[in-house]
Every structure is written in C-alpha cells, then in structure tokens.
C-alpha cells in the first residue's frame, strides 16, 4: 500500500501510517531516495505519529533510510514518535541513533528551516 510523499518547498513530508509491512517499508525506502533526487529536496520529514509499534526491523529501516537520504545530500527528521513507542524502543534495546528527531511536524519543519539558514552564507 502506498505511503503519501508530499513535496513542500525544498522538503518532502512522508506520513507513515501504522501497520506497514516490511515490504511496504522497503518500497517506501526506495520511493523516498528516488524522490529526493527528482525534487532536489534538502530535507525529509518522516511523520510517524500514527505508528503504534516500532520493532527492531522498523528502527533499522529508518536508520537505513536516513543514511541513504544523507548520501543523497538531504537531511532527515523523524517527528511524532509517541511516548509509549519511545519507551518500547528503549526497552527493546533498539535505537534511532544518527537521525534527528522532533516532537511534531511543526518542530521538524523549523529544525529543517534552521539548517537551511545556517547553510546559506550571509
């Protein structure tokens, strides 16, 4: 099932719904990496507000996606990790190390805007 990828200015916004299968995640991974190039995106926001479980495979896939996006010259922010999901990730011993996170979409967008500002010479 497709995951909507929305282009907003120089960013892509990916709204991850709950209950993605492993195959859905792999398809999503390819789609994002492809679209970063097509739209010359500088940032990718992955909104996981609706995600109710992040197991070790999901965490690893998000880490892979973030690294691929970085190799394509853009930044990733994961937003909307629910408190109970955060708790479970830590208990599981999994990690989203190396990926920027923000509370919600608004915070994620201002984080990317700040990065853009810093990258631009005065």
């Amino acid at each position: 099932m497709p995951v909507p990828i929305l282009k907003q200015g120089s960013n892509l916004i990916v709204t991850v719904r709950s209950a993605l299968t492993d195959e859905d995640l792999r398809v999503l991974q390819r789609a994002i990496v492809d679209q970063v190039g097509r739209y010359r995106s500088r940032g990718v926001i992955m909104d996981v507000t609706a995600v109710d479980v992040m197991d070790s495979f999901a965490c690893r896939t998000y880490r892979d996606i973030a690294q691929m996006i970085q190799l394509r010259g853009a930044k990733t922010v994961i937003v909307g990790i629910q408190p109970e999901v955060a708790f479970s990730i830590v208990q599981l011993g999994s990690t989203l190390e190396g990926i920027a996170t923000a509370l919600d979409l608004e915070e994620g967008l201002s984080y990317l805007a700040e990065l853009e500002r810093q990258a631009r010479p005065e």
Partner: protein
C-alpha cells in the same frame, strides 16, 4: 485459562496481524498504553524471529490468571532449525542470522517473564508473559 488464539506466521504481513491481535486481547485487561505497546512490540519481534529463522510457525495468545494476577501469555512456536546455545541467544548483541542481535534480550525486557525451549533440528518455543501491574 481462557481460549487460545493461534495466528499462523508465514509472511511479514502476519507479523502485523499477530501484534494487533495481542494488543486487542490485552486491552480489556486494563494494561496501560505503554504496556500495550511493549506487548505488541515483543510479539512483533517474536513473530519476526519465526520468519527469519524458521520461515513459518505460529504465535499463540492467551489470557492467564494466577494468584489473583491477570496477564497475557505469548507463545511463539516453530519447527525451524532450533537454537543450539540458548544462553548465547539471550545475550545482547548475539545473532546467528547476522542481522539483529537484540531480538530475544529485547523481548525479555519488554515482558515480565520469558522462557526458551529449543533443541537443534526440533524447533523453538518461546513463551513470554506480562502481568498487569
């Protein structure tokens, strides 16, 4: 003992069916949102282990009452290659598939109890319980 729900695990979509069934079964027991998510995450890891190591198997879910406590029992069964060294499999960082070394120790931390029974060539049964606090 209540009735057992059996979820055949055969492909990655079954992992989601299993963890959603677990959440559904545990919700009426009055678990907190954090506990429900930990149970669903543990089921996800156990079902994933089945796919990864044994290709197919089954997740069994049951409500259990014991000494005035109520909880959920998750049992992951497969007839795969089995685990030669159970102690090693429970150590952090160990993974014979070379993929993720945190499956079983992670499940142990998410749940209250975990037991592994396995013999090489005879499959594996992992039983994990979580009691409502």
């Amino acid at each position: 003992m209540s009735e057992t729900i059996r979820i055949p695990i055969d492909c990655d979509a079954d992992i989601i069916v299993a963890r959603q069934s677990g959440r559904q079964m545990a919700t009426p027991l009055g678990f907190s949102a954090v506990d429900l998510t930990m149970i669903a995450t543990a089921i996800s890891e156990l079902a994933r282990n089945i796919i990864m190591y044994a290709q197919r198997g089954v997740i069994e879910l049951q409500i259990q009452q014991s000494n005035g406590r109520e909880g959920i029992v998750v049992c992951a069964r497969d007839e795969g290659p089995g685990i030669a060294d159970i102690e090693q499999a429970q150590r952090i960082g160990y993974s014979s598939s070379g993929q993720l070394g945190l499956g079983l120790p992670g499940v142990r931390r998410l749940m209250d109890e975990m037991k592994i029974e396995s013999r090489p060539g005879k499959g594996t049964v992992v039983t994990a319980r979580k009691w409502r606090s």
